[in-house]
């Protein structure tokens, strides 16, 4: 596959950054040193990075409560992401969102939603805007296997096809809808077959192989724009973390987790590095840089100021009498 060296460097850097970041999040979750719910994406790195490496910086995406990897891969500032998780005033959402809502509009993120399947209709709207205004930005909505039963997903999929909207429905099939395995909740043998109901083109790929994710997404973007049509992508991977940090994960047996580790996306990427002319020293250097950046981001966040309590009253509306908010 033809990927230039800069992009390859970027891909490896992002993969490692996300993994180190989430490992650190798991640690602080155990220490209970940050407030609120935390949902980590260990096992999703190749999907986050593979899709984003095929998109342009200013393309539109939406994410979910499991958003750290998407935000990092969409080039959101690592320090701001971390500061947000710590609830500090310099956070990416000024402390108002928290871990479940990490999102930077300036980086093309339309939102990270706490409601399952809230994203697809919103991204459909952005894609519609591009179509109406003759824009060239691509639009991609990320969601999990649990979201594909939800009405909001289906309504967005139906409209996107009916209106010939170029966009990507990116389903991260990590095997679990919250605490329920896909074996128990899918109606179709293959998840991607849900797209058939809308006569929508769909592709399936190995979500643990960043280069496969990259290529499928790159091709899908070209096809979607050329044919003026939405495309459904299913990437299969494994959710190593629980639904949230603190989940007992009793429904995920240890044997299954051990089995899945054989296909760990980070491990797989390192194994493939030589195919892309990376020496093991180069890989180690990228890992070190990524780890340093993650550590710096956490050091930064821990020392950032808290918001003022009254900041809660800011930016509820564009225009509204402030005295009426109390």
């Amino acid at each position: 596959m033809n990927i230039d060296k800069n992009k390859l460097n970027w891909i490896y850097k992002k993969l490692f950054t996300i993994r180190f970041f989430e490992e650190r999040i798991k640690k602080i979750a155990k220490e209970k040193s940050v407030p609120g719910y935390l949902h980590t994406c260990i096992g999703s790195e190749a999907i986050c990075v593979g899709v984003m490496s095929a998109l342009s910086d200013d393309d539109w995406i939406s994410s979910t409560y499991r958003n750290h990897g998407h935000a990092i891969a969409k080039n959101c500032e690592l320090k701001q992401i971390t500061s947000e998780i710590y609830g500090r005033s310099t956070g990416i959402c000024k402390g108002r969102g928290g871990s479940m809502h990490i999102s930077d509009f300036d980086k093309g993120m339309l939102g990270s939603f706490g409601i399952v399947a809230a994203g697809p209709p919103v991204v459909l709207g952005a894609a519609l805007q591009e179509k109406i205004n003759g824009g060239t930005k691509m639009s991609a909505t990320f969601f999990g296997d649990g979201a594909i039963h939800n009405g909001a997903f289906h309504e967005a999929a139906g409209l996107a096809k009916l209106w010939d909207i170029p966009m990507l429905f990116v389903c991260e099939n990590n095997g679990y809808a919250e605490a329920t395995a896909t074996d128990w909740h899918l109606n179709t043998k293959e998840l991607k077959d849900i797209a058939k109901a809308y006569d929508m083109i769909s592709y399936q790929g190995d979500g643990n192989n960043v280069f496969e994710v990259h290529q499928i997404t790159r091709d899908a973007i070209i096809e979607s724009k050329a044919k003026n049509t939405p495309i459904f992508l299913e990437f299969k991977n494994y959710r190593f973390s629980g639904q949230y940090e603190g989940d007992t994960q009793l429904y995920q047996p240890l044997e299954e987790i051990e089995e899945a580790k054989k296909n760990d996306p980070i491990k797989k990427s390192i194994e493939m590095a030589s195919e892309y002319n990376f020496s093991s020293d180069e890989i180690k250097k990228i890992q070190t840089d990524a780890l340093n950046e993650v550590n710096e981001a956490f050091d930064f966040a821990e020392t950032q100021p808290w918001p003022n309590p009254e900041d809660a009253l800011e930016e509820v509306y564009v225009n509204y009498p402030k005295e009426l908010l109390r």
Partner: protein, 338 residues
């Protein structure tokens, strides 16, 4: 007497209702929770919802009556309406009240109006159990209360218990009730304990409770706000101000008479609601008092609510958002000295 947490009390009420009526079923997302894959089954019934409230029901009553659903609130809420109309008594769990938007039509337009709109021949005996409340650092989409959204709608009943005693007694009634009932459980109260008798009787819907008798100031406190009201009343008693705390417990129907009796006695009133202020339970209760007890009031009613903002994540801002004991004490002094 034995102590139970709110969580245990709710679980007990569910178990007893299941045992007493074979038509009671439960549907919700991961209410049993934990189904591993076919080749690696994992431990079933390991969740009981994100707060573990329904844990054990699947094991006791089986998958026919205790149904884990997909993430499809509109689907299983609507199914509960139809099942209720035709003979079952479904309990559905809305994992967080914030997810109401996804399935509100089935409640607002279908469950609530069936009886009225179609000539009174059928009823919809279903219960929606849902988790509400701020103070969990759970951000804007997992922390709301939205009491008034439901109380506004004719045809729905709304219950929001404070302690384990009320939670058990009111849930037993809600499940037996022939109308759709929204039963709101506060996430910050699940682990709080109080005495709950072994032979707990159902508590009728629409009956409030005087949590603390007093003669000087009436405090009407909604759900978790009873905690802060109690703290404030205790503290201010040192200054010889004697507060009466009313916990309405159910908001539709509302025990108006219990509130009015207290207001007639004290003439000084505070209403505390952790919801957003506009068109809230606090504004409803305040307006009822001004309509029905205008001549008994010695000073204007004070409402203590959250501001008109979404719920911020960061602790200093969220703490600012939630009514505080300090604000209540200030309000008590203000109405008392007026």
């Amino acid at each position: 007497m034995r102590e139970l947490t709110v969580k245990e009390a709710i679980n007990e009420a569910l178990v007893e209702s299941f045992e007493n009526d074979k038509n009671v079923i439960l549907m919700g997302e991961d209410i049993a929770g934990g189904k591993g894959r076919e080749n690696y089954p994992g431990t079933q019934d390991s969740w009981g919802g994100p707060f573990g409230v329904t844990q054990g029901l699947l094991t006791k009553f089986g998958p026919e009556r205790v149904r884990d659903t997909t993430i499809t609130e509109a689907g299983f809420f609507g199914a509960a309406v139809g099942a209720a109309m035709t003979g079952l008594r479904p309990i559905v769990e809305l994992m967080y009240v914030d997810f109401a938007g996804v399935c509100f039509d089935q409640l607002m337009n279908q469950a609530a109006k069936m009886r009225y709109m179609f000539g009174g021949k059928q009823s919809v005996p279903m219960v929606v159990r849902t988790v509400v409340g701020a103070g969990f650092r759970a951000g804007s989409e997992h922390s709301q209360t939205l009491y008034s959204l439901y109380a506004h709608i004719p045809g729905l009943k709304v219950v929001a218990p404070y302690d384990a005693f009320d939670a058990k007694g009111l849930l037993l009634s809600a499940i037996k009730d022939d109308d759709p009932v929204i039963f709101m459980e506060h996430k910050r109260l699940y682990m709080t304990k109080c005495d709950v008798p072994e032979d707990m009787k159902p508590i009728p819907l629409g009956k409030g409770r005087i949590r603390r008798p007093g003669k000087d100031v009436t405090i009407i406190a909604i759900q978790r706000m009873n905690l802060f009201a109690e703290e404030a009343a205790q503290k201010i008693s040192e200054e010889n101000i004697d507060c009466e705390i009313i916990d309405p417990r159910t908001y539709s129907p509302l025990d108006e008479e219990l509130i009015f009796e207290s207001v007639r006695k004290t003439g000084r009133v505070i209403v505390i609601d952790e919801s957003n202020p506009k068109c809230s339970l606090a504004s409803e209760i305040t307006s009822l008092i001004s309509e029905k007890c205008f001549n008994d009031l010695k000073t204007a009613v004070i409402k203590i609510t959250a501001p008109h903002t979404p719920i911020p994540f960061s602790p200093p801002m969220e703490d600012f958002y939630i009514p505080s004991t300090k604000k209540i004490i200030e309000a008590i002094k203000k109405v008392h000295n007026a």
